[in-house]
């Protein structure tokens, strides 16, 4: 296990005040916020920053860490002496066990046994029964999975209390069947796969929130599927029947005569399957053939001469 210098992570001096630590954390929390950061490793850095903050913002954990870490350098191999934490009482719980599951092994080794784990052991001894917590994870699927159904392997890292009351991080791999017709925002509930219960009570559930990976052509909104459909000028002007590829198979669609770019066609029942199935929504985009050959130029020139068409006529009214 490598020693982690939490002061270096937050960029503060070892004698920084609580206010300086808070300011440094907020600055980094903004910089590495996963929703807005443009840094490539934002999520990982945010985890490190959260971990450093969880320790340094808590006076008890900070004091214990300072005492333990004296003379150690970051990255150095490190093993805490037995009962190193005797005399410290950890009470702060700004970060839940679910959140600290993302922290490093260094953190889990040092502070994994505090708070909830002790409380759980105490309750168990006095006959306390409580159902385990529900856990929540996100599962990223291909859009095609909702058309065919799929089995996905999901790895989860969750804290687990050992017989000594210490919390260890445990990686579990689950094979989960994804039902056909699932759509983004839905939740798959796996009964009994959450946190274990206390005193013989049942385990909690695992809630898997479904999201789709970005698809090059389709965008899903609920059960409806959106895509842009490129059409030739003559297909738009004269009407046509064109084959449209779907995530699974294809469908023939009638383009109405006189269609324009930006018009939306709704094909009922060809979205994500279900009861009822969603619709397929096609945004028409008229694509012009390039005037690269003499013949193509001639055709454009004939249209220009004979159609007397002014696309900006309305602007002149």
């Amino acid at each position: 296990m490598q020693f982690k210098d939490y002061y270096q992570t937050l960029g503060v001096a070892r004698d920084a005040t609580a206010d300086e630590i808070k300011k440094a954390f907020r600055k980094l929390a903004r910089k590495y916020h996963p929703d807005v950061s443009k840094e490539a490793d934002a999520e990982l850095r945010m985890q490190e920053v959260n971990e450093a903050h969880a320790v340094l913002s808590d006076p008890e954990k900070r004091a214990a860490y300072d005492q333990l870490g004296r003379g150690h350098r970051p990255g150095e191999t490190f093993r805490p002496p037995p009962d190193w934490d005797a005399g410290f009482e950890f009470t702060g719980q700004a970060y839940s066990p679910g959140e600290t599951a993302d922290f490093s092994d260094f953190f889990a080794e040092l502070f994994g046994h505090m708070g909830g784990a002790h409380a759980g052991t105490r309750h168990a001894r006095t006959g306390f029964r409580a159902q385990g917590e529900d856990h929540h994870a996100k599962v990223l699927l291909d859009l095609e999975d909702s058309f065919t159904g799929a089995t996905r392997q999901i790895s989860l890292r969750a804290p687990k209390v050992d017989p000594q009351g210490r919390v260890q991080l445990e990686t579990r791999t689950l094979n989960v069947k994804i039902p056909k017709g699932v759509h983004a925002g839905q939740v798959i509930r796996l009964a009994g796969q959450g946190a274990p219960g206390m005193g013989g009570a049942p385990a909690g559930d695992l809630l898997l929130e479904v999201q789709f990976k970005p698809h090059p052509r389709f965008r899903a909104e609920g059960r409806d599927l959106h895509r842009t459909l490129p059409v030739a000028p003559w297909e738009a002007a004269l009407g046509a029947i064109v084959a449209v590829d779907l995530p699974q198979g294809s469908v023939k669609v009638r383009i109405p005569e006189g269609a324009q770019s930006g018009r939306q066609l709704r094909v009922r029942g060809h979205g994500i399957p279900g009861q009822p199935p969603g619709d397929l929504l096609l945004d028409l985009q008229v694509v012009l053939p390039p005037a690269k050959t003499p013949r193509a130029r001639e055709l454009y020139e004939t249209m220009a001469r004979e159609l007397a068409f002014d696309p900006r006529a309305q602007e002149k009214d």
Partner: protein, 105 residues
């Protein structure tokens, strides 16, 4: 992979999560959720016959709001405003990805 290794889950409808499920899955207290709902800061919840139920999107919303309040000492109204903007950004990013294939942001 053996067939009996495969877990078959129960698919929950959008508005099927209970208050306790959202609170437990997002590490927030049920009273925290109720207070935010009552103050109109949590639009992904609806009351049916006196019982609150939540859409799947409320899991992400609750986590975001709690982190904003904790990390920046944000007042709940500000956390809700930022969560609204992030949700709007999620929608726009999805639209952008479709308009410009291969673009992530």
């Amino acid at each position: 992979m053996q067939d009996d290794d495969i877990l078959i889950g129960c698919l929950m409808e959008d508005s099927w999560l209970t208050l306790e499920q959202v609170a437990a899955a997002c590490s927030v207290e049920p009273v925290w959720l109720i207070r935010h709902i009552e103050e109109g800061l949590f639009p992904h919840a609806e009351s049916v016959a006196g019982t609150w139920r939540f859409s799947g999107a409320s899991l992400l919303r609750a986590r975001r709001m709690r982190q904003l309040e904790r990390d920046f000492d944000a007042v709940p109204e500000l956390a809700a405003l930022v969560a609204d903007l992030l949700e709007e950004m999620d929608t726009l990013r999805a639209l952008t990805r479709q308009a410009v294939p291969g673009r992530d942001r």
